[in-house]
């Protein structure tokens, strides 16, 4: 798993027809040896709490052996692939380089397909499961996935379009959630008034935090947003009078059908439309609510990309200094991106609060920011469809895997794919940066281009621009 992939660069000098298998074997053994060294204490010996306070050690030689074997095999496979590639004529390789991935129409089709499936998802589930309450699990999962899709699309504006790495995005999610929770519990405002307010407040916070930091260079900006995100969370934990502290805020009012409550009694949603009462009405309404919010995000993003401000964002991502010399006000441009992204984070946050009915600072840790960022990065920064696919795979994937019985049979009873979710997030982020820095579905080409296509700084990755 930890094979030093870069090591082949030297060994792959395949001018001759015969591949140097001795060197390949040596390289694979070396990688296996390194893996062994990496595994030695941390995987080999597991610390467990014994009967008393003392920790006991439990050796796991089999696990280390399988890690080492896996790395050895992966290295050898890598060499086999290299050897086959070396056998191919060079012309073919050249063609490979020249094809610029022009996947935009395909991506658009994909986006429509995603929209279609998402719109009819509750119906499909209803028909398959054969009943409203039976499909509850699936609709809930759909809501969760769509929340992340929306957050991903919101962060995509900041990271993917404007090229600003925001590690504190969850702060705006928290601002949205707490805005709704506090406004509704203290002033009794309804969700439909709070939703825009939450967006405005989050955007306001985005501007407030963004203003001092946006003149910083990229990685400093990332760290400062991280610091702000943590500060907001810590204040929410410690300022008990304001936010309820670590205990959070509970009994947040439920969502209403534009003022009509989802209740069983007279005047509720069910009796108004002459339906038999079912708690699923509310869940399905929530599903369509988040779907609408997510589509709003996507729609606004797609339209903004065609406006001057959107083009300025993309230009800023490609080359900040060029932007400045062309007279683009970089601070304002960054600020609008930051605030727009924050606003959608705020919408998602107030949706989160109304769905859960309970919020606490626990839900807004750095890890949450990292998950959203991972979804954006894995989806290929800038691509709407990619982000949606990444959210589905990364959020629903482990959940679905958990239901597969045979995995438990293979890996033992206590196997929980959710545990490995973050491992895959982390590895995926590294892998994306190494192999597909422009995203799986590349939309990182500026929307406005001259007739003649030129390479943008993102495409000559080896040159050291940007």
């Amino acid at each position: 798993m930890n094979a030093p992939h870069a090591m082949t660069a030297g060994t792959a000098a395949p001018a001759t027809a015969r591949y140097d298998w001795g060197a390949a074997l040596k390289d694979a053994s070396l990688a296996a040896l390194v893996t062994l060294g990496l595994c030695i204490p941390i995987v080999l010996l597991r610390t467990d709490q014994g009967a008393g306070v003392d920790l006991l050690l439990r050796p796991r030689i089999g696990m280390v052996a399988s890690f080492v074997a896996a790395v050895f095999a992966a290295r050898l496979l890598h060499h086999v692939l290299l050897a086959r590639r070396a056998g191919r004529p060079l012309v073919e390789q050249k063609a490979e380089v020249r094809t610029t991935p022009n996947a935009v129409p395909w991506a658009k089709m994909g986006l429509y397909a995603f929209m279609g499936v998402a719109m009819s998802f509750p119906l499909i589930v209803f028909l398959i499961q054969g009943g409203l309450s039976e499909s509850r699990y699936w609709v809930d999962l759909g809501i969760l996935v769509l929340t992340y899709v929306m957050l991903g699309w919101g962060l995509n504006i900041v990271v993917g379009l404007a090229g600003l790495l925001d590690l504190g995005y969850v702060a705006f999610y928290a601002v949205g959630a707490y805005s709704y929770a506090l406004l509704s519990t203290t002033f009794g405002l309804s969700f439909w008034i709070c939703l825009p307010l939450a967006g405005i407040l989050a955007a306001f916070w985005g501007m407030l935090l963004g203003f001092p930091v946006l003149r910083l260079r990229g990685d400093y900006l990332a760290i400062v947003t991280l610091a702000f995100g943590e500060i907001i969370r810590l204040v929410l934990i410690n300022w008990v009078d304001f936010s309820g502290g670590g205990a959070g805020i509970s009994s947040i009012p439920r969502v209403t059908f534009f003022g009509v409550p989802f209740s069983a009694d007279e005047g509720g949603f069910a009796s108004l439309f002459g339906l038999t009462f079912s708690p699923m009405h509310r869940v399905i309404f929530l599903y369509y609510l988040i779907l609408g919010l997510a589509f709003l995000t996507a729609f606004v993003t797609l339209r903004l990309r065609k406006l001057p401000v959107g083009r300025a964002w993309e230009a800023l991502r490609e080359d900040e200094i060029a932007c400045r010399s062309l007279g683009i006000n970089t601070t304002n441009t960054k600020l609008t991106a930051f605030a727009t992204g924050a606003m959608f984070g705020g919408f998602a946050g107030s949706f989160f609060a109304v769905r859960q009915g309970f919020i606490s600072p626990e839900s807004f840790t750095f890890l949450e920011s990292a998950v959203i960022l991972a979804i954006v990065v894995l989806g290929g920064m800038g691509s709407q469809l990619g982000v949606a696919i990444a959210a589905i795979v990364m959020v629903a994937g482990p959940e679905l895997l958990r239901n597969l019985g045979f995995l438990k049979a293979v890996f033992g009873e206590s196997f929980d794919p959710n545990e490995f979710r973050f491992l895959i997030f982390g590895l995926g982020m590294v892998a994306m940066m190494i192999w597909r820095p422009r995203g799986l579905i590349s939309e990182r080409e500026p929307t406005a281009i001259l007739k003649e296509r030129r390479a943008i700084s993102g495409s000559h990755v080896k040159e050291g621009h940007g």
Binding site: N2, A3, P4, H5, A6, V34, G37, L38, I40, P41, I42, L45, R46, T47, V53, L55, L57, G163, L165, L167, P212, V213, L216, R217, G218, D219, Y220, A222, I223, V224, L226, A227, E230, I231, L234, I237, N238, I321, F366, A370, L373, A374, V377, E419, F420, F422, L423, F425, G426, G428, M429, V430, M433, I434, P437, S457, G458, V461, K462, G466
Partner: protein, 306 residues
């Protein structure tokens, strides 16, 4: 007065740990201009390695001498953590050299998430307490109100180890050919390569040294607090990064100075203001320093080259 002196001692102890981690950030930043976000997790990993080696020594091999055990733990942790530092550089950062600017940072965040959860999956999510290793304290003096100023052996060990290793490290950077190569790469990587310096090797070694010093910090952290969990890399990592930035990122004395200042601020803040907001204080310093004096106390102002 007694409280002040006691907090001074505590602050300096904590500060030496932060300083050791901060060197890893500052060296890597100096040489390849990237924020090694995963460094805090390398530190956490090293504390786990130290914990396991310590348990092997005491429970399996029956080593009773704490001094010997600590020495062996320190050396093992340094060696094994260095290997991790080397491997992460090789896998996650080297292929990105020359990629777009944020790529190494995103990759480092990936490594950070990976390391934290790798430890969680392999070692479990619970806190891992160690038996108290060194318990003796020296009472320096007793105040009028019965408040005693104490300097524990742990604190002496931590400060002395830090000082000795910083001395060795300083010699390494200032007097050896490795240090010269490193400083040359820091100034101009292309020119250094033209003059026959193996840049890749130098960068690898920078990561190795950074990880080794983080391992010292990890061992000291374990000795000081006696407990470690997989999530312990994040906050100390950010604080050490704050220290590096405060001291002037890229500057080695700055990192140590920044570490001491952050350690002192944290302990005094906890003692005199509020313990709840101590992390808020650290994060605020980070934001304020980056916004208002990004070159820090001892750093050189950065010139943007086009």
């Amino acid at each position: 007065m007694e409280v002040f002196v006691q907090q001074l001692i505590n602050g300096l102890t904590l500060g030496s740990i932060y300083g050791l981690i901060a060197i890893g950030y500052t060296m890597v930043f100096g040489i390849i201009g990237m924020v090694n976000f995963a460094h805090g997790d390398v530190f956490m990993l090293s504390a786990f390695i130290a914990l396991i080696v310590f348990l092997v020594l005491t429970t399996w091999l029956g080593v009773t001498s704490i001094a010997l055990a600590l020495l062996v733990v320190l050396i093992c942790a340094m060696a094994l953590t260095s290997l991790w530092g080397w491997a992460t550089e090789r896998i996650a950062y080297r292929p990105l050299r020359g990629s777009f600017r944020l790529a190494p940072l995103i990759s480092a965040i990936g490594v950070s998430i990976f390391l934290a959860n790798f430890v969680q999956v392999t070692q479990g999510a619970r806190n891992k307490p160690t038996p108290p290793m060194v318990r003796e304290v020296i009472v320096l003096w007793e105040g009028a109100n019965g408040y005693a100023v104490a300097l524990s052996y742990k604190q002496i060990i931590i400060m002395a180890t830090t000082a000795v290793l910083l001395g060795i490290f300083w010699y390494l950077v200032q007097r050896t050919s490795l240090g010269r190569a490193q400083r040359a790469c820091e100034q101009d990587r292309k020119m250094a390569a033209l003059l026959g310096i193996d840049v890749d090797r130098t960068i690898s070694l920078t990561f190795v040294i950074g990880a080794a010093l983080a391992a010292v910090a990890g061992t000291m952290y374990l000795l000081y607090y006696g407990v470690v969990s997989f999530a312990d890399g994040f906050v100390p990592g950010v604080k050490a990064f704050t220290a590096a930035v405060l001291g002037g990122i890229g500057s080695l004395p700055g990192a140590v100075l920044g570490g001491l200042i952050i350690g002192l601020i944290e302990t005094f803040w906890s003692a005199y203001f509020s313990i709840e907001y101590k992390d808020v204080a650290a994060f605020s310093i980070l934001a304020i320093v980056l916004i208002f004096m990004p070159s820090g106390l001892l750093g050189r102002p950065e010139v943007e080259k086009v």
